[in-house]
Amino acid sequence: MRKAILTIAYVLFVIPAGLVIRVLRDPMRRSWTRGRDSYWQNSGG
């Protein structure tokens, strides 16, 4: 039962939200930018 609920939640909420977020601003920052000098980010600690 729990598996079914989680599957439904994934299909109905996680997939749409994930697709929208990926279009707007990929939290995983997957793209390579060969022309960039650096990928360092300021430290959050």
Partner: protein
Amino acid sequence: MSDLVLGISAYYHDSAAALVRDGKPVAAAQEERFTRRRHDSAFPAHAVAYTLGEAGATLADVSAIAYYEDPALKFRRVLATYLGAVPFGLSSFRDTLPDWWTSKRRIVDVVRRELAGLDLGPVPEISYRRHHESHAASAFFASPYESAAVLCVDGVGEWATTTIWHGQGTRLKPVVEIRFPHSLGLLYSAFTYFCGFKVDSGEYKLMGLAPYGEPRYADLIRERLIDLKADGSFRLNMRYFEYLRGQVMTGRGFEKLFGGPRREPEAELTRREFDLAASVQLVTEEAVLKLARTARELTGESRLCMAGGVALNCVANGKIVADSVFDELWVQPAAGDAGCALGAALAVALDRGAGRAHVGTGRDAMSGALLGPSYSDDRIADYLTAGGIPYRRLEPAALAAEVAKAIAAGKVVGWFQGRMEFGPRALGARSILGDARDPRTQSVMNLKIKFRESFRPFAPSVLADDAKDFFDLPQDSPYMLVVAPIAEAARRTVEEDSGLTGLDLLKVPRSVIPAVTHVDYSARVQTVRQRDNPAYHQLLLALKEETGSSVVVNTSFNVRGEPIVNTPHEAYTCFMRTDIDLLAIGGFLLSKADQPEWKEELDWRTEVPLD
């Protein structure tokens, strides 16, 4: 009045507890040593009880508890991963979200309940330090330096996978970072997985395999898997990795890139695995060197401290030392997540006003990493007597002399002395020792004692003052975390390898200490000073008197798959299950020939899972 802070790492891998008094580590241990479950991730109840007992304290005496990461921040990363992996991450979402929702995101409450359940007094306030801050604190605050650059590289903490810090006095300032999913640790783990070894425990096997191969895949890795910039920053090409979506590291992308499916665990190693190991090792070394140079540039410091799982890659550490970008390198002996317990405790202790009293003495704060339990001669005698175990009792000098003679004669000796090491390496407290000069020692110890794959080299201990005679190592290496070349004067001319390939190359003696010389003339060295481990130092002096050389094979006191031994009983059991010839335990010497027959109901090889 002393200020005690207890640090805890738990629930992922290598749970541990560490107790710090007025900013000084007084006790630390990994939970696995007590439960005998390798890399145990459970709450470290035994380790907590041990550290408090060692200090003669209860929780009522502890001012603060420090947990080694920020659970809420980590949960946000987990949620971002679910969102980032759509539409492919369903199985990971179903398998992991319930645990996160019910307990992992509220870990402080869980820890409080666990501590209360130990009945060791009222539970003090619990705070957390972020994962990479815990690593950085374990590296810098325990180091001998007043100021230093600090580099932490691992799989992932909350978000950070690679961080540079500037340590000054009692302060640590974060400088820059790289975030998940871009991770050198996970890159290396992906290759570990693809070559058929276990993730989080098999990485050092991949490192040991690398010298057998050619880095013919290195260009492919640089072109397709990692965009590595000149300043050491990088991004991975996530199309080739599966860890965002599920519980495996690689999938079809890797198979297509490297010409076939992953090697099955325990299957025969092929040329491909040798070359993959060599390739990812080379790329990792390049990345770590660039990171180190950037750390120098950003901080202006001439000394470097390191921690994080990738800091256990002692070949890469050796390249930093050889590169001379820093005057000195210090690596936290418990560089993995167990060391975060210590780091979190140190960070909280220093925030509360503790100092770093050891700075300026030339010594670090780790007491030779000998922070675990010890057993008095009286307790050992009680154990031996109760078991009807034959032994001889010797004064320390006589014990050292007799053990040295035995090693010189080719015997293998179990060495159980003093406080147990904290961290993955045996450093002469829970060690199995052998003759480094004998070319047969490598195969004898591999097959008859460690019951392990034959490609893995053993590592030497040597008196610090003698190290230059055998190794090109410009600094001390007290924690066996630096690989150095064998010195030219100690090498032997090698005839053509007679067409030998692969693992057979290890059989060719390449130096006057062949048992610890890898096929590329390298060795993972421990330099020993009297102040860090007097008993071990005394033994190496006796060995030098006997043979002219203080170099000894030092491998961990365990069989493959089990944690390093902790108690006299575990030491005796390992002694009797293997072909170790002598056991030197405290002031007692046990000879295998004198022992009664060893009987077990079950074949222990079926009980201890392979690592």
